[in-house]
Symmetry: C2
Subunit: 221 residues, 2 copies
């Protein structure tokens, strides 16, 4: 398997999913720099030979893992199909911000931050991270575009809006993980509600003054 | 010298400034992981003994360097004293976004990204990066607060606004440096103009429809 082919449920279902879940746990427990193929094999209860057979190198396995994470987010957003554009954006704000006090998830994001810092030097990581970003950007732009079409949002540039939203969520995650600034994710979600959602909903009968768009606890999971 | 004392022009003026400039060049040329005290000494045309005398360890020297960068930004913003809050925010947007096609600056930001990825594991880096962030956040909040006081901006939470602005600029810089997505910094600056500045200036006679707030080429350096 090459790093280009993202496995679907049809080809490698159980083995792939169990190795991907094992990779998540291994990243949480060992971090990016220290994690070995043996650590993943141990978590998956498989041999390293099996891992190398399916993914060849650790780099390839991690590229597949990044693709797998994207698929998971796609599924979560697809579940919101019937909701309003506002609700779908707020759901996405929460999915892309770390929950405070979840130590496992924090460990995982630390590992991801390290992997990302290697992206300028490692083309395979860079390409997959770019693909993930482009795909998530598309998701956000599609929600905004849909909101404009239904009259929920005023006309804006959906791509530019998506870039702003994702940059803010990304920056907040970085501050929380790298600097331990745990206030940032919530403050930035509230800021996105106050400035972006409020602005999107203006000139369409709903001007956000009813307290709705400033309250990010609406779409609690 | 300890990592707590930020040298001013009064104590270590020339030696400190020349070593800080040498550190910048060494980070550009060697990256964070590979850069040695010898590399900095070579750039500064000094011995490593002098470096160790002034800063003790490489870690301490890099902490001083992070403090030095903050002082530089402070000076640049202080130069904008007479400008409107809008102009000062737009100037800050540009200062905190990498210029496209500046290879040196890009190399430098790559090194900074690596240092930041080590922050969860290295307290000294984390503490100084937190201090830098808090200080820049204060700068932005002060500009917003000032804009509210003079009636240029509508009343908002200055701290929350500052967190949103900085997270977005940070995320855009990360995408540009880690993933090579060079469109992000400009798109995010325009998004901040479109959503944040436009919103701040609403309900104060200026609603941003005159093209001013949507044009980030105004404050060209």
């Amino acid at each position: 398997m090459t790093s280009e082919s993202v496995p679907t449920d049809d080809n490698l279902p159980e083995a792939h999913q169990s190795i991907m879940r094992a990779t998540y746990r291994a990243l949480c427990n060992h971090g990016f720099a220290e994690m070995t193929m043996q650590d993943i094999a141990d978590e998956a209860d498989k041999s390293t030979a099996v891992l190398h057979y399916h993914y060849d190198t650790k780099e390839n396995l991690l590229v597949e893992f990044l693709a797998y994470m994207l698929t998971r987010l796609d599924e979560q957003i697809a579940e919101m199909e019937g909701a309003s554009a506002t609700e779908r954006l707020q759901c996405l704000f929460r999915r892309l911000s770390p929950d405070e006090g979840d130590a496992d998830r924090e460990q995982f994001y630390r590992a991801l931050l390290e992997l990302r810092a290697q992206a300028p030097y490692r083309e395979a990581y860079r390409e997959q991270l770019r693909a993930n970003k482009a795909s998530i950007q598309q998701m956000v732009a599609d929600i905004v575009r849909n909101g404009i079409e239904t009259g929920e949002f005023r006309p804006v540039d959906p791509e530019q809006t998506a870039r702003l939203v994702l940059a803010a969520l990304d920056g907040a995650r970085g501050a929380a993980i790298a600097l331990g600034d745990e206030e940032d994710p919530r403050a930035v979600r509230e800021g996105l509600n106050e400035f972006v959602l409020d602005s999107l909903r203006r000139e369409n009968g709903e001007n956000g003054e009813n307290g709705e768009s400033g309250d990010d606890t609406e779409v609690e999971e």
